[in-house]
């Protein structure tokens, strides 16, 4: 079998998903024999931007250059994967969206004029066509390995869209909302983490992002109402949505 050429690129992010990818490679070193890593600065010294079978993008775009780079990568890649919540939905840096970036710069930097960033934070899919979106802050390394394996053997993951609650119930975890009145975003958040927070008796704060197929403004509003009764203010609920689901929040307007 010809080795699949792979490039791993980072935009605005913490490298956490890249570390999950490294974990996946460490856990399954046989993967390294089936792929040819062309670009991956965290792993190797010699990197070239060339035609790729698979491009993996971590992080979101916060300025024009990111968009150019992304378009270039898209043009060179057969398959483009957005890895993690930042790349797929915007990520935690989106918490600043809605405020003029000059305000933000002034707040953090003594010389704001040197900082290049626009007011928006854009998910990869807002800029180029994405073939596969993986959520998670961070993305789950085991799920990542499973998907890479399928792609390497010539397949494609069969996606199932469901709420975190489905995983929570299947795992036999007692619902924190119903039994303890703890605010939990699980009902509107995409499954994928294995109901991590509820397994520690804590409410989901939405780091896999809200569902993108069956949620509209009305449903988000209903959820907000329910959470408010449990003590999570609208403002704080919106922050959680912004922080982990920004690109969907944008598309929810109307």
């Amino acid at each position: 079998m010809r080795k699949a050429s792979v490039g791993v690129f980072k935009l605005t992010s913490c490298s956490g998903c890249i570390n999950e990818l490294i974990y996946a490679l460490v856990k399954h070193p046989e993967l390294l024999k089936l792929i040819e890593v062309k670009y991956f600065t965290e792993l190797q010294d010699v990197n070239e931007l060339t035609e790729l079978d698979v491009a993996v993008i971590e992080g979101s775009s916060i300025r024009g250059e990111h968009e150019e780079v992304l378009k270039k990568i898209r043009g060179l890649s057969k398959v483009l994967i957005s890895m993690g919540t930042c790349a797929t939905l915007g990520g935690v840096q989106s918490l600043r969206v809605g405020v003029d970036v000059n305000e933000v710069k002034k707040y953090v930097y003594p010389s704001p004029e040197y900082v290049d960033a626009y007011s928006d934070v854009k998910a990869v899919s807002e800029l180029v066509q994405v073939d596969l979106s993986l959520r998670g802050c961070p993305v789950n390394g085991d799920a990542l390995a499973s998907i890479i394996k399928k792609i390497v053997v010539g397949g494609w993951p069969v996606e199932v869209y469901e709420s975190l609650c489905a995983e929570c119930k299947r795992a036999g975890i007692e619902c924190v909302v119903v039994t303890k009145g703890i605010p939990c975003l699980g009902p509107i958040v995409s499954a994928g983490c294995g109901a991590l927070c509820p397994s520690f008796g804590r409410g989901c704060y939405g780091c896999y992002g809200i569902k993108d197929k069956d949620i509209d403004v009305g449903k988000v509003f209903e959820m907000g109402e329910a959470l408010e009764k449990l003590g999570l203010s609208k403002e704080d609920f919106h922050s959680l949505l912004k922080g982990y689901s920004m690109s969907l929040v944008k598309s929810l307007k109307t």
Partner: protein, 276 residues
Amino acid sequence: MLAKPLTPLPAVVTGVIDEAPLVKTIYVALRDFPEPAPGQFNMVYARGLGEVPISVSDAFRRGDRLVIAHTVRSVGAVTKHLTTFIEVGSQVGIRGPYGRGWPLEGMEGMDVLIVGGGIGLAPLRPIIRYVEARRDSFGRLFILYGARTPHDLIYKHELGKYTEIPNSVVKVSIDKPYEGWTGYVGFVTDLIDRIDLDPSRTTAYVCGPEVMMKVAVRRLASRGLKADKMFLSLERRMRCGMGVCGTCQFGHYFVCKDGPVFSYDELMNYLWVDGI
């Protein structure tokens, strides 16, 4: 009950035919596999990826083996794999045959009307084989078939031969004008109005996209066909093929075991309800 109801039988691919863009027919040869009836389907398994329900588009004996044809269109993860990576000699898994096929026994003497849209011709082809093999037992054979473009027609090599079947009428349409196409342009359901139909002695077998089947039902009804003489083959998400996974439910039917073929009068209460 099968001894191993959820376990596919390993099968070697013996032939692959390019039918149309994204569409291939995959032949597998199996020993000890029940002979499928026209309209039944198998679950085809691509190892490590998943299973998909695929209609049997042909089945015949070769020596001690049963050769089964599955016509697959690349739309999802598994079908994409089947149409891209599977070649002669590849291994797949097969479970089946499942479901209730086309009612043919008891229809002797009737005219047979086949209406197929796109890849929907695949499950109808065994009817043609069946009637051809028992030509004297049936009345006229109408084959109405349509696709988006001439390229999207499947069984191209065979379509011409259908006209050679005695007492048959074959009409083929494409949706929009296409350079070089001299046949009918329009929807396949339009052709229903262009044949000499005797509603009192016709059984209609319809398969295609659900919208097309709905139009066909209306047209056929307007031509005087009774609801119990129209048969439709439905598509749904299917995971088990035998009524346990629940994902193919349509009203109270399990499409996999109660169907996939239904008479229109069985469906009447559900077919027009969006998303039932």
